[in-house]
Symmetry: C2
Subunit: 340 residues, 2 copies
């Protein structure tokens, strides 16, 4: 498959023009807007080859060409030049993130920032508990048979949950329980907690065993099984930009997918070390999102990764710009977390 330099150049031009205008691009317009140094007829021949190879496509016989998912993929992998952030963007990021008081605050600001900068739907995963360690476990007696357990992770995540005890406990008992769980679990990675829990019960004094038993069940539920992961979402209104043309006619499936936390996690949470990842249309595993693209990156203090963030938009998307923004925001957030 002979894709010489000019053909690649033509593909790049098609992608750029189509992204900018949202209209199928023809040979004549291409030659006019880019300095390709050849005639429309030549471009047409190149386009015919590109179409044969599946990189572009005609919506109807007598229309211009539109990139296919495969075309975007090639563009992203080999043709897109890195687009440095504008000064304004850098400033926006800093202004937005400075003054966050809280992990919650950081996450919310970040997700809104991302949505605003990319003009797309933004998703930010909270630092994953499975990649966090227990900093402290606090037990707050609410009544003699009720405890509020608060887990504070080194990533700043805080989870709390009410525990209904089978037997009443006294104040001193709570102190006991608190000391025990912190001794055993403090500093541990969340993912290492489950096997330790049984020991927790075994080693506690007989009188406290029932209490410790329910307590540890709840701990497991809360920390490992249930809201293990959380996400924040913003910018759904951006889906309506560009008419209903993107997303093959209906926002329905997209909105439905975005309602499911599980799906968002799958989308944004499966980050591999330090790479920015782009999923284009069909490459997406979720059926409802086959007409969308995702750009995601991992973030975390230093070079470790504690969570993912990214955006979702039409396949017809400004990839270079979006990738640059997502990457930059991920880095800023990582730095911010490192300061704690």
């Amino acid at each position: 498959m002979g894709l010489d330099d000019r053909k690649l150049e033509v593909l790049r031009a098609i992608v750029e023009d189509y992204v900018a205008t949202q209209e199928p691009v023809g040979s004549k317009a291409l030659v006019e807007r880019h300095q390709l140094g050849v005639s429309p007829a030549t471009v047409r021949n190149d386009m015919a080859v590109l179409e044969e190879e599946g990189y572009i496509q005609q919506p109807h016989t007598s229309a211009g060409r539109v990139p296919t998912d495969r075309g975007y993929r090639l563009f992203v992998d080999r043709l897109s030049r890195v687009k440095p952030l504008s000064q304004a963007e850098r400033r926006a990021i800093e202004r937005f993130l400075v003054g966050a008081v809280d992990l919650d605050d950081v996450v919310h600001r970040t997700v809104r920032l991302l949505a605003q900068l990319t003009r797309q739907v933004a998703v930010v995963q909270y630092p994953s508990l499975s990649r966090s360690s227990v900093r402290h476990l606090e037990l707050v007696p609410i009544s003699t048979t009720r405890l509020m357990v608060v887990m504070i992770a080194d990533t700043g995540r805080v989870e709390q949950r009410l525990v209904e005890l089978p037997t009443p406990v006294r104040f001193d008992d709570v102190t006991d329980l608190r000391r025990t769980v912190n001794e055993k679990l403090g500093g541990r990675r969340l993912s290492d907690v489950p096997p330790l829990v049984q020991a927790l019960v075994d080693e506690s004094s007989p009188a406290l065993r029932p209490a410790m038993s329910t307590l540890s069940t709840v701990l497991l539920e809360t920390l490992v099984e249930r809201h293990e992961e959380r996400v924040a979402l913003a910018g759904t209104a951006n889906l309506t930009r560009g008419g209903v043309l993107d997303f093959q006619g209906s926002l329905r499936p997209i909105l439905e997918a975005l309602e499911e936390e599980v799906i968002l996690l799958k989308l944004i949470g499966e980050v591999e070390p330090s790479r920015t990842r782009v999923l284009i249309g069909d490459e997406n595993e979720i059926d409802n999102l086959r007409s969308a693209s995702v750009v995601r990156a991992g973030y975390g203090p230093g070079s470790t990764i504690v969570g993912g963030l990214g955006v979702l938009g039409p396949t017809r998307m400004d990839y270079p710009g979006t990738i640059a923004t997502v990457r930059a925001v991920a880095r800023y957030v990582g730095d911010l977390l490192a300061q704690n």
Copy 2:
């Protein structure tokens, strides 16, 4: 304005048919589908009057009639028969809400339930802090200059926030601080807290005064100013039902409004004692939502109200059904909270 019984009956029929079919309803169809006992011509005369009074409207000269906001209002106020919940709905509510472990859990389940039952966008406000009392304030030392303050309200709300202290404190100091704040603030209504805070600082020992000072600033910020109120949202995908016909062409403004927590609060949070409230189209204060209707109710244990919940949908909405559902869900949630 002579709106005799038959005219009202005609209006009701128009609303019901239009809601069901989404199409302007004509005199002939009306007579066929409802037993009005009169001829189409008579109905036409009635419709002319109803139109003159502003209750209905013709999209175009030669089309049937469509209710106006005013028409829906009259319908809701005087014409709609209460529609009892189906057995299936009752069961759904119970099944959905049983087994909630947590306030967060309750709110999330509720909002999804509401969205599913009404097939509309659902909004649930967390129990308002301003209507809550402090049950307990926990201070967890993270380092010598850092505290995690956790506030547990009687409504189940839990708020936490990291505090950066100006001076290092020892473990005993934290115990002191904890005792003091709980003595002064425990059991107080959140709305009564601000005036008490100054006393808190004044009465603490000189050594702890700087720490107490920042602590109380943060308390004020967290409890009163900042996330004072929170909301959960679900069912945005339901906006796409019925084409883009509802909402005068674009989902844009709606989605934008739903992104703003402040707006959601205004929408759902301003509940007055025990009444279910319906806002139709223009009655809505938020410009972006002028083409939508809101049905909301307050909820809380017993007859007190701690928060609001409701749904948002097209003005062309099944009001009786929606009202019944919102009311029922509010009651169930209230009962659930009462059990704590």
